[in-house]
Symmetry: C2
Subunit: 470 residues, 2 copies
């Protein structure tokens, strides 16, 4: 990046909002999946107009712009793999409006998801998407990746709650998509085209969100199993029984073992898997559904524990949200996937990963959002052990092929980024891939916006882009 | 269309599946909003491959292709306004799969919405979108227009239930979008880009639908009001009270008057407006919500009638679904809009239309999906009365401007088609319109697929495209 460009960036942003010192750049070289390539600069814009000016400059001088929120993404979406300018939206963190009459909020992209949720809770409202990183991830990042979370089984994911946005195209043009009403079909659905596009088509500058009334009550159940397939086979059955949980999380015994010490409630040693199930709604409805659940489970091989205190519930959730970081007590690195299969195929998937772990002599954990078939598969490795690393990569490729054979998809909520780009052609046929790439070219003819993400790069071989790390 | 092209079409389709006689062409010249321009031919393909071959031919010879299902659309989407070939998907009416374990169905586009719903009901399942035309409209048409219906207030619209599709691009390329799992973020969301694109980007050949378990019980309430604003002001309040209706329909006194004779239950003469409210769910939940509703309404100026028999319920729905055709007892033509405003603005909108009716000496009905702010405004006219017609057009333009001023949108579920194309720039800014049009050009460089829809044509003036009719 030329000095002249840096000078212009400083003029747009104000001197203190552009970082170029190496120690600062290092902080913006990675996301939740790792990364070690430094950008040339890091910008902290404060307005739509600043972002438009930056993109016009980038388009003219052809330098990459990598938009990001908190950098908590899991697939390399925020990594500056081709250098350039990292565009951090953290200063654009204003909740612009909460319309309690119409259940709509308008926010800037840098608002932290959990902070919006707290603000809404005080007004008796809810914004459902709840990624594990909700205490630090941002709504803009959630929109870019179409984040999910445990509540997706009942409430859906980010795309189900963003009904409109303002965004800046790589040309600097500012577009306004969608509506701020419950319904709307005027022109093409650009809102959904941008959600999940991983910062490759436009930069979000405002988001219009659909809200729900906060449920009156919530109850938490822990279902303990002495055999793993007892848990996995129950998932589809529970959802067909008339119970509509707002959480249906699964952990295998390895996932349990890494967070067991965080729980004050002791789990029996025989526990080989568990389901964490929650029901929400009016008090009457929760009671009624709890009754249905108890009756449904009574004849089945499962131990039911009901959380009675808020503290127990808090611990359970802290444990659940800590699984991913806690896995590093097993091995220093991991290959972390968030594949999805039809719910009825979860037993097959989990059985397959167990077999894969045995065959390839690897530790593989499975946990996650069983209710919607979105299973997090963590293949634990030590990258300095070249042979183990190679076996890990082999496991990843086999896993993806098996997931697709089961009618599944490569990613439920983490996106493709760099870590799965090489595998995208396994799922998406050439004609479909071609029209996606032509859309990218239409929006971004000079390929300045988050280049190298989603689509395999020309030089790319499977082996080059297999590495997930932290 | 040259003889050579017709010969090739016959070879692709089989002689009996291509119509060219004028009396046949006339049957495919209009949709639910009218139309009188004949196509040159009508094709009834039976497979994805036939559609691909037809589109390749059209792209080569540059003739328009107008895909359609039942032609029940309300905004001209299925009208062959530039002639060409009407592509009717009615033979592709197979339900390919109902996966009860994973709550997924796969269908062809010509399946009648109501027929899928009946098939699902027998298995205890539900596909929620329920346009008033559900007994004859098709899933492909619903997808193209992103149709809604009364159940949208609780369950959402078509875009919330189509999770993937197979579609043919104007080039003849076959793409496969989305997933058949609950979640998925792999590449750009082409599914949602195609839904609501009104047959201008691709032709659907398979749809993957998300299903829900059929609710156990449903209860119907009729809320009668002696003043219109008592009804409109209650809508937002009901939805904030903890009641989640699966239907919250509104009719003003004119709408009531055109269907009154279809009801065996007499309505008091003082009835100036009504709300039709339904609650569904488990028996316990319905009872609990009904109790909450009775308590909520008790102190308010409303007469509550509870439907006790299935026959009463059937009549009520028949009356509701008959409003649109029944309005022609008032005047021979109408300008029919499906604007949306934030729920809290419904009283303002309805008040505005009353004023407009008075000022312009017109009969204007308001009815529709109050629960999501989607109000059907029917401006009744006699087109042969040139002055009345002109006043009708003036009312339409004023209505749109008011709707946008209230934070609303031009269409909730009918789309833009030809009847609103000239007005789209009132809602969508030039940069956003430009990227939409460039997407159209990317998909369809020769403009063969449903030309003249959504976007105002170059020669178009407001006055040229104002006419809705039947």
């Amino acid at each position: 990046m030329k000095q002249e460009v840096l000078r212009t960036l400083r003029a747009i942003l104000g001197r203190e909002h552009l970082l170029t010192a190496e120690e600062d750049l290092a902080c913006y070289s990675f996301d939740g999946s790792g990364g070690d390539i430094l950008p040339q600069a890091v910008a902290f814009p404060d307005s739509t107009e600043q972002i438009a000016a930056i993109l016009r400059l980038a388009d003219k001088h052809r330098f990459p712009v990598i938009p990001r929120g908190a950098g908590s993404g899991m697939t390399g979406g925020a990594q500056p793999i081709h250098g350039g300018l990292v565009l951090v939206c953290s200063r654009m963190n204003r909740i612009l409006e909460i319309d309690t009459d119409n259940l709509i909020a308008v926010t800037e992209p840098g608002v932290i998801t959990g902070e919006l949720q707290s603000a809404l809770q005080k007004k008796g409202l809810m914004y459902p998407p709840d990624p594990a990183s909700l205490k630090f991830c941002t709504l803009g990042g959630n929109a870019a990746e179409c984040s999910g979370g445990p509540s997706a089984v009942k409430y859906g994911v980010t795309r189900d709650y963003i009904i409109g946005c303002e965004a800046v195209l790589p040309s600097g043009e500012i577009i306004t998509t969608g509506v701020r009403t419950e319904k709307g079909v005027t022109g093409y659905d650009l809102t959904h085209l941008l959600i999940g596009s991983e910062g490759t088509l436009a930069v979000f500058t405002k988001l219009t969100l659909r809200l729900l009334p906060l449920p009156e009550a919530k109850q938490t159940f822990l279902l303990l199993f002495s055999a793993i397939e007892q848990a996995t086979e129950l998932v589809a059955e529970i959802l067909q029984s008339g119970i509509m949980p707002c959480t249906l999380e699964y952990m295998d015994h390895t996932a349990i073992s890494v967070v067991r010490k965080m729980l004050s409630v002791p789990l029996p040693d025989s526990t080989r898997a568990l389901l964490l199930l929650e029901i929400d709604g009016s008090r009457e409805k929760v009671e009624q559904q709890a009754g249905t659940l108890r009756k449904f489970l009574a004849p089945r091989p499962v131990t039911l524990q009901e959380s009675t205190t808020e503290e127990e519930r808090r611990q359970l959730w802290q444990a659940r949200r800590s699984i991913s970081p806690a896995t590093f007590s097993i091995k220093p690195h991991k290959i972390s996937e968030d594949v999805v299969v039809p719910r009825s195929k979860i037993p097959d998937l989990v059985h397959y990963t167990s077999r894969l772990a045995l065959e390839l002599e690897l530790t593989i954990l499975t946990f996650g959002h069983a209710g919607d078939g979105n299973i997090h598969v963590n293949i634990m490795i030590d990258k300095t052990d070249r042979q183990e690393y190679a076996r890990g990569l082999e496991a990843k490729k086999n896993l993806f092929e098996q997931v697709l054979a089961l009618g599944g998809t490569l990613s439920g909520e983490h996106g493709i980024g760099t870590t799965k780009a090489a595998f995208l052609p396994l799922e998406i046929n050439p004609a479909t891939m071609s029209i996606m790439q032509r859309i990218k070219h239409l929006f971004d003819p000079n390929n300045i916006l988050n280049p190298g993400k989603i689509f395999p790069e020309e030089s790319e071989q499977f082996a080059d882009h297999l590495g997930d790390q932290r």
